[in-house]
């Protein structure tokens, strides 16, 4: 949001989508004329119908209000672990999963402390995708950055490239996977925005589990969505905005 180019892009798209949505308000479709539909404006909480591909009219994003995020609370981490079947015992803590983790920050100048969850930021220009030698690291049309484990060779170049330390590598054979979340030895993995839930019209597990309601999830491209409305009205930050990666995850209060 801080990048002028991004703001211009977003504004022009928003004003266009906004006009279109006003025409098709209530129907969830933008109609050029009766019976002629231009684009579909997807809403958070709506499942895509079977056979329908993810669309680039949607961009999933998350807004995290760190002023509400309680220090020591790890409800989001626990929910993520349960939802995604992350329950293996790690011999070396440095090799643990990095799908989502809590970070405690302290400003040494004034002593202000706060806590925030850090995970894959779902960049519009993801460095992990740039460096992947096989094309396994990929960005889906709706902005969710994923690892295609079918072609991941486990080189871990993406782990090096990620500025957010958001990726981790599975070092041991797994047996307790969630049927909807395949994961296994020899592949890199990271937060998927709970893509299997989002595709069913549900919220990511961390968002639902947060007892403070500090996390908002939705479509950044839909001006009617709660997240887009808050981003339009309230200040927010992208972590390492200087890298101009155009993040899907935005923070408040840092």
């Amino acid at each position: 949001m801080n990048d002028p180019q991004d703001r211009i892009d977003n504004q022009s798209r928003r004003s266009f989508v906004g006009t279109a949505a006003a025409v098709g308000a209530g129907l969830g479709v933008a109609a050029l004329a009766p019976g002629l539909h231009l684009i579909e404006v997807s809403q958070a909480g709506t499942a895509r119908s079977p056979g329908e591909a993810a669309s680039n009219t949607v961009r999933w994003g998350m807004l995290i209000d760190t002023t509400k995020c309680a220090s020591g609370c790890d409800a989001c981490v626990k929910a993520c672990n349960t939802e995604n079947g992350i329950n293996e015992t790690i011999k070396d803590a440095r090799q643990g999963s990095q799908w989502i983790r809590k970070i405690e920050l302290k400003d040494p100048k004034n002593g202000r402390e706060h806590s925030l969850p850090m995970m894959c930021q779902h960049c519009a220009n993801p460095p992990c995708v740039d460096v992947c030698p096989t094309g396994a690291s990929m960005k889906r049309a709706d902005g969710i950055v994923l690892v295609d484990r079918h072609i991941c060779i486990g080189c871990r170049y993406c782990m090096m490239a990620c500025p957010y330390k958001a990726r981790s590598f599975v070092h041991q054979p797994l047996t307790e996977q969630n049927p909807e979340v395949p994961r296994g030895i020899g592949c890199v993995e990271s937060c998927t925005f709970c893509v299997h839930r989002v595709d069913k019209g549900q919220m990511p597990a961390c968002v639902e589990a947060c007892p403070e309601g500090a996390m908002t999830f939705g479509d950044l491209n839909d001006p009617a969505s709660a997240i887009a409305q808050r981003l339009a009205r309230e200040p927010s930050t992208q972590v390492r905005a200087d890298l101009k990666l155009n993040l899907g995850v935005r923070y408040q209060g840092i």
Binding site: D148, P182, G184
Partner: protein
């Protein structure tokens, strides 16, 4: 000339014996379908093409986000997982039995859950 005749007779004898030797090959896999019903295609087509079906489906689902495809590993195990072990792997397991016989490496289940009905425990506050 005599040598050539002997060689020919010997060769013919090997050819005649070959079918008798074939009897000693590995036993055919014994498959048990635990939850018989209508598969997504006839058995002959599934035997020959299941890997292609799954490969194309996996790319559409993974990369394009298309859900609800006809071919799906989770749908496979809902019918084919063993009732005793709950899995398609292990001795007599639907997938492993054939793949062992054909000596084809089976690595789908390194990442995908091979047991039917496996549920994640769920956390308070997370709706299903």
């Amino acid at each position: 000339m005599t040598f050539m005749k002997q060689a020919l007779v010997g060769f013919a004898a090997v050819l005649l014996l070959a079918p008798a030797l074939a009897v000693a090959e590995a036993p055919k896999p014994a498959l048990k379908i635990e939850n018989p019903g209508q598969c997504i295609a006839p058995a002959e087509e599934m035997r020959r093409n299941h890997m292609e079906m799954l490969k194309h489906q996996r790319d559409r689902t993974m990369r394009q986000g298309i859900r609800g495809e006809k071919a799906s590993l989770n749908e496979c195990i809902s019918c084919h997982a063993s009732k005793s072990t709950g899995s398609v792997l292990g001795k007599g397991g639907f997938c492993q039995e054939c793949h062992s016989y054909a000596a084809v490496k089976l690595d789908c289940w390194d990442c995908h859950q091979p047991k039917a009905g496996q549920k994640h425990a769920g956390v308070a506050g997370v709706k299903e």
